[in-house]
Amino acid sequence: MSDEELHELAGKQAALGEVRGTPAQDPVNAPMIRHWLDAMGDENPAYLEKGVAPPAMAQVWTMPGVRRSAKDRSPVDDMIAALDASGYTGVVATNCEQTYHRYARVGERLTPATRFADLAGPKRTALGVGFFATWKVTWYGEDDEPVADMLFRVLKFRPRTKAAPAAADRPAYPLQPAINQDTAFFWEGVRQGELRIQTCADCGHHRHPPGPLCPQCRSANSSHLVASGLGTLYSFVVHHHPPVPGRETPFVVGVVELPEGVRIVGNVVDCPIEEVAVGMPLRVTYRPMDDQLVLPMWAPSKEEA
């Protein structure tokens, strides 16, 4: 249904006025009151002493039970069904207002009546686009006088698809590292939560950033070790300007000295900028930038490298 058709239906349902349901299965009774007070932890002795029900129990007497098939069809059900069919399948209650004209007495049987009141929307909400539907239920006593009224409002919303805010539709981070046969091991390590430092397979020299040749012995045979993940801030700059795609300024670019004997460039995060200081102990942390790319960054650490 279009939004206009939903409003049209709402008008029709409201025009039905108050629609009576079937009377409660059981009259107001002490065992159900006692059970309710016990579960709520309500020690007020007045109800059982005076033979009246806690007023907030009004709705309890006419609840449909485990097998709902016998439930009355109310003007609200058709409206909710139409909203579901139009994609507004989510539901969350927003308001419940009960007015008690008097307390229901043990022995009397209540009868509910439902009136559809209002449909407002579509409105943009934190949960998604939706309609606010409002209805009123009145419980009548055997004297046909109202015992209690309830105004109830729900938001029927179009749930966001799971894929949207999560993984699939996330745009690629605009600054992708160049990954080649010399650096692939490093990025694969980051994806697995390992900080890998290149080592020379011949002389054992550690080097970073990764490259094809050992600066010490010119060997092209390389291997790697997995760093402890601890480091010390050797130097840093705070980048304010110019803007960097995919990033919010200001951010801290640090040179981190590793106990393994190399220095690595990375962002310092999880720390107020004014508290960033040369010599501070850091620990590596891994941040997903998009579906594929993870970047190692550096956060304050209690452990000294």
Binding site: M32, H35, W36, D38, A39, M40, G41, D42, E43, N44, P45, A46, E49, P54, P55, A56, M57, Q59, V60, M63, G65, V66, V92, A93, T94, N95, C96, E97, Q98, T99, Y100, Y103
Partner: protein, 134 residues
């Protein structure tokens, strides 16, 4: 315990054990699975079973009558519903008397859980004898 405008009601904290969530759902005749079936609650995107609205209304009523005493007559409970009250969380009620006219009081009530306000609203009650509760 004061009942002047601005006086605060004593805090009430309720640990929302699974037993509490389930037993109140059953006592209110609400058999919707999200109030007793953890797997179904999770399948609908909730982190656990959670308190049903009839219970929230009942607890707001209990909170105010705990303070006002057995002579209080509750006339109206108007609640704005907020974040879910999940099993494992704790629901803390606070309240303040916001109006007093003859024997009729309005109390503002707030029920908070770790995620924020679960219920906020007002309760109107009448006391047969002026001067109570004090």
């Amino acid at each position: 315990m004061g009942a002047e405008i601005g006086s605060a009601l004593p805090e009430l904290a309720i640990d929302l054990t699974p037993t509490f969530v389930v037993s109140t759902a059953l006592a209110t005749m609400d058999f919707t699975p999200v109030h007793h079936d953890v797997d179904k609650a999770r399948a609908q995107g909730s982190k656990d079973i959670f308190l049903n609205i009839l219970t929230t209304m009942g607890l707001v009523e209990r909170y105010v009558t705990d303070w006002a005493g057995p002579e209080a007559v509750i006339e109206r409970v108007a609640v704005k519903l907020g974040v879910p009250a999940y099993a494992g969380d704790r629901l803390c009620f606070n309240g303040t008397v916001v109006s007093r006219e003859e024997g009729r009081f309005t109390v503002e009530v707030r029920g908070k859980v770790s995620l924020g306000d679960h219920a906020t609203g007002t309760v109107t009650l009448a006391l047969a004898e002026e001067g109570k509760p004090c």
